[in-house]
């Protein structure tokens, strides 16, 4: 018990005293995750809509694969991205290994299937509602995609938040491809793993509190801004 109280006190102090390291790490965590989330949404949401709207031969297979890939083990993703980006790998010349960019790539691979799958499920219901009208109005494929994405935006927000949650708390893949280098690729999760290993529970707990606080704050802010769960919303 002593360790925990001691840790919490030290953690609170780190927060109040605006500890430079803590803020640097937190900001980097946010930057990596938000970038990954942005790129993933750009790929996954139109993909999810297309899977609803287009009937092609491999459609069922792609949907099944996306669902399966939602449970992709992050460490394995890290390993594959590592091999791709390492000196001897196909993208070695880009010199990306052990940079925040490599971490963003790994996170994109991890959360894109998750977001695409949730998008697909949400828009499938919306499409069955809109189907007759949009066919009757002679809409093009692009117009259908845009209509579904816009009118389903509240459900897509849930997809994005799920992606954010998975990315911000992820440690295996970014540890492998980022390397947890101080002032370069250290983020909240990798730092917690390191500090725990070192036995510095105060720092580890402080970082943990920031991580949880961050996840909760982002979710609450977005819910508040968009007014979900408020009476009379669709």
């Amino acid at each position: 018990m002593g360790d925990i109280w001691e840790g919490l006190r030290a953690a609170a102090w780190l927060l109040i005293s605006f500890d430079a390291d803590l803020y640097e790490i937190t900001l980097r965590s946010l930057r990596v995750t938000v970038s990954a989330l942005f790129i993933s949404c750009l790929i996954a949401m139109p993909l999810g809509a297309l899977l609803v709207l287009r009937r092609f031969w491999a459609r069922r297979f792609v949907i099944a694969m996306l669902n399966a890939l939602m449970g992709l083990p992050p460490v394995v993703v890290g390993l594959v991205v590592y091999l791709m980006l390492s000196r001897s790998g196909p993208f070695g010349v880009l010199n990306l290994l052990f940079t925040p960019t490599a971490m963003i790539i790994a996170q994109v691979v991890i959360i894109t299937p998750l977001i695409a799958s949730i998008t697909h499920q949400a828009l499938r219901d919306l499409w069955s509602e809109y189907h007759d009208l949009l066919i009757s109005l002679n809409t093009s494929l692009g117009q259908r995609v845009r209509t579904l994405l816009w009118d389903g935006r509240r459900n897509l927000l849930t997809a994005a938040l799920a992606g954010f949650g998975r990315a911000i708390g992820e440690v295996g893949a970014i540890m492998v491809v980022g390397g947890n280098i101080d002032h370069a690729t250290r983020v909240l999760t990798t730092a917690i793993a390191l500090e725990t290993g070192k036995g510095d529970f105060a720092m580890a707990l402080g970082l943990g509190m920031v991580l949880i606080g961050l996840a909760v704050t982002v979710n609450l802010t977005i819910h508040w801004l968009t007014g979900t769960e408020r009476a009379g919303r669709w």
Binding site: Y130, D132, S136, D151
Partner: protein
């Protein structure tokens, strides 16, 4: 002036799903003649007939042809469904949606949508979420949205099936106005009273087949087939 869509010609047209014939084969030539009412008992294939004329149900056999190429014809039609499909947007955005699709400037689209909103008595509710309207208001909204591109042909599938008297009266008034603007209206109903109030021409269907097609005065006074006679008398058709 846009080239006339009519006559509409159906040749041996039928729709089958999973081996079951929903309607057809139907041969029919239809001219622009005010309001054409499709009548018949439940399951007669009224909805399927409208949907295949409009082109949202794929034909299993035969053809549906308008006087102009298909793509031109499709752009000049609109459809109002029995259960109105309401976009999860405001009333105004619902009305402007078909105009945005054809690339109309935002201001002009909004102006027309506001006018349409006033026409259906929903002034002051422009910013309201359309999904929260009552059943009658939703159907009026769907009708106004269908009319906003000034289509040459308007299909309606039992638009008043779930509505109360006042709402039905308002819908019928809107339809009569559209008729005066030279919109060809093809509408299904199983209310004999509504058919008598509105019809210029009647198409009577039973078990997926077209049984009778005649001017309304003829149909209601001297029906030519035993099925139509029985239906008008209030018998149950099997």
């Amino acid at each position: 002036m846009v080239k006339a869509l009519f006559p509409l010609t159906l040749k041996e047209a039928s729709v089958k799903r999973r081996g079951k014939t929903l309607a057809g084969p139907i041969d029919l030539a239809l001219n622009r003649d005010g309001i054409t009412i499709v009548m018949g008992p439940n399951g007669a294939g009224k909805t399927t007939l409208l949907r295949m004329m409009h082109g949202i149900d794929r034909l299993s056999t035969g053809s549906v042809t308008w006087a102009v190429p298909d793509t031109v014809a499709r752009a000049q039609q609109a459809f109002v469904f029995q259960t109105p499909v309401i976009l999860r947007r405001t009333v105004l955005e619902n009305l402007a949606y078909p105009l945005h699709l054809i690339g109309m400037a935002k201001k002009e689209a909004e102006k027309r949508a506001l006018q349409a909103c006033a026409d259906i008595g929903l002034s002051g509710h422009e910013g309201l979420r359309a999904t929260r309207l009552s059943g009658g208001e939703k159907q009026k909204l769907a009708l106004a949205r269908a009319l906003i591109r000034n289509p040459q042909v308007l299909f309606l599938d039992e638009p008043c099936a779930n509505l109360d008297g006042p709402s039905t009266r308002e819908i019928e008034a809107l339809l009569n106005q559209a008729k005066l603007r030279d919109t060809g209206i093809i509408m299904s109903t199983h209310s004999i009273g509504q058919a008598q109030r509105l019809a210029n021409t009647v198409i009577f269907m039973h078990k997926g087949a077209l049984v009778e097609h005649s001017p309304s005065s003829v149909f209601f006074e001297t029906p030519q087939t035993p099925q139509a006679t029985a239906f008008l008398k209030g018998d149950i058709l099997e």
